[in-house]
């Protein structure tokens, strides 16, 4: 069951997005925030339902375990607002990424942590950069073979 998200957690995510991805706090104005199972955080339009307990509202944007972890759905939708800590990959690596593979890259300028992966202005999803290896963060349900890109 979804609950209203505590203010501290909401501020933690907003701060993370601002510091890690350079996202303006303005983008959050139209959304209401909820927490679900497994520390998942959802945003949706301001939806108040009487007498109905929905399975889900809006989309899951983060998981709050030890630290905030952005979801691929979040990065695909809000990628256009991200101004730092994104990694552009070529077509060959895009095919590997979509299959769920990790990537070895040479990218010194990115601070280790979660990153947005892009290909030719298309926002692919989430990865974790440790300075040498880009760990694939795609959920298994999204793994696929890409034939056209």
């Amino acid at each position: 069951m979804l609950k209203k998200l505590e203010k501290e957690k909401k501020e933690l995510v907003k701060k993370y997005c601002s510091e890690r991805f350079g996202m303006s706090p303005k983008i959050w104005e139209r959304y209401s925030w909820h927490s679900g199972s497994k520390n998942k955080i959802y945003i949706s339009n301001n939806l108040e339902l009487e007498r109905i307990n929905p399975e889900s509202k809006g989309i899951c944007i983060f998981r709050l375990d030890k630290s905030p972890k952005p979801t691929t759905n979040f990065l695909q939708l809000f990628g256009k607002y991200i101004s730092k800590n994104y990694i552009e990959i070529n077509n060959k690596n895009t095919i590997k990424y979509c299959k769920g593979e990790d990537l070895t890259l040479n990218n010194k300028s990115i601070i280790p942590g979660f990153v947005l992966i892009t290909n030719n202005k298309r926002f692919l999803g989430c990865g974790h950069w440790n300075g040498k290896l880009l760990k694939n963060q795609l959920p298994k349900s999204k793994f696929c073979n890409i034939n056209f890109l």
Binding site: I43, L47, I52, S56, G58, I59, N73, L77, I146, F148
Partner: protein
């Protein structure tokens, strides 16, 4: 003759009496459908996506009756990067019709999609609303919620709540617009490979009719005065179409509204079938035949609660 050809022949024989051009109807049933899709404007501009897709198929065409419905000769667009990132949604052309007939209403409003999975119409409506307003996307089967949830996530829909309920016992909820895309015999999807599993018997049509009427009744009961109810199926069968609407018009205070989509050829609902007369209002329903627009078959009705 294979089993599916037998089913196709049976359908042609059964509905030939309702069509304007028997030969073209029979021919169209035997021609497989091309893949169709729409652009998800919640994530990207149409022009940008189309320019990219034309690198894969230069002959992608926009249909005449919708500015966001396209056809491609490719049959595996699902393996394109545009699909992966949620820029496109592969959808039958006829399935795009219900939101289009209420284009005048779709803005910042409350909508209930009673039988929403896998989310084709819900995601289309959300895009038309630009993620504003509120949609309740309901489905009765847990197994189908996964695909619904997956499509909402992939397309970046934030204005939708997903509920798991048998709509027949859904709590009364006021909305401006209700979509009842009811489970049906799906005969109209016959052009899709192996889509119709068997030849339906009279008792099957009666079973579908009963369920469809229950779902539509529920929507009509909970709809406040002035709200709109859209009923649709993907079948030829009058028992699941005009008969359901006719029974609703006889029982509820609903007013039929005229439907028109520019450049889409359609026919009015029929008023007689199997020696049964229907309510005259069903003539305002819309029937889409496969040979008219090179699509599946479809049936749709727009009603307003008095």
């Amino acid at each position: 003759m294979d089993r599916y050809q037998k089913i196709r022949n049976e359908i042609i024989k059964k509905y030939n009496c309702l069509v304007d051009d028997k030969k073209k109807f029979a021919e169209s049933i035997n021609i497989p459908l091309k893949q169709s899709f729409r652009i998800n404007t919640l994530k990207e501009k149409k022009e940008t996506v189309i320019a990219k897709l034309k690198e894969y198929d230069s002959k992608i065409t926009n249909v005449r009756w919708s500015d966001n419905a396209y056809i491609t000769k490719l049959n595996n667009l699902g393996s394109s990067l545009e699909h992966f990132v949620g820029h496109i949604y592969i959808q039958e052309l006829t399935s795009m019709i219900p939101p289009l007939i209420v284009k005048d209403l779709i803005k910042d409003i409350n909508i209930i999609d009673c039988c929403a999975a896998p989310g084709s119409k819900t995601t289309q409506i959300a895009a038309m609303m630009d993620n504003k307003g509120h949609i309740i996307a309901n489905d009765a089967r847990h197994a189908r919620l996964k695909s619904l949830r997956g499509n909402l996530d992939r397309l970046g829909v934030t204005n939708t709540s997903v509920t798991l309920r048998d709509f027949k016992s859904f709590p009364n909820t006021k909305a401006d617009l209700y979509f009842v895309d009811a489970p049906c015999s799906s005969e109209g999807t016959i052009r899709k490979k192996n889509s119709v599993a068997r030849i339906w018997k009279e008792k099957d049509y009666l079973r579908f009719n009963k369920l469809q009427k229950q779902l539509l009744s529920k929507a009509c009961e909970m709809a406040p005065s002035g709200s709109t109810v859209v009923y649709s199926t993907c079948t030829f069968s009058p028992d699941e179409n005009e008969k359901v609407v006719s029974e609703i018009l006889n029982e509820y205070d609903m007013k039929m509204k005229h439907i028109k989509i520019e450049n889409l050829k359609s026919e009015p609902g029929i008023t007689q079938w199997n020696n049964e007369e229907y309510h005259s209002g069903v003539e305002k329903c819309m029937r889409i035949w496969p040979h008219h627009n090179d699509t599946d078959a479809f049936f749709i009705a727009r009603m307003e609660k008095c």
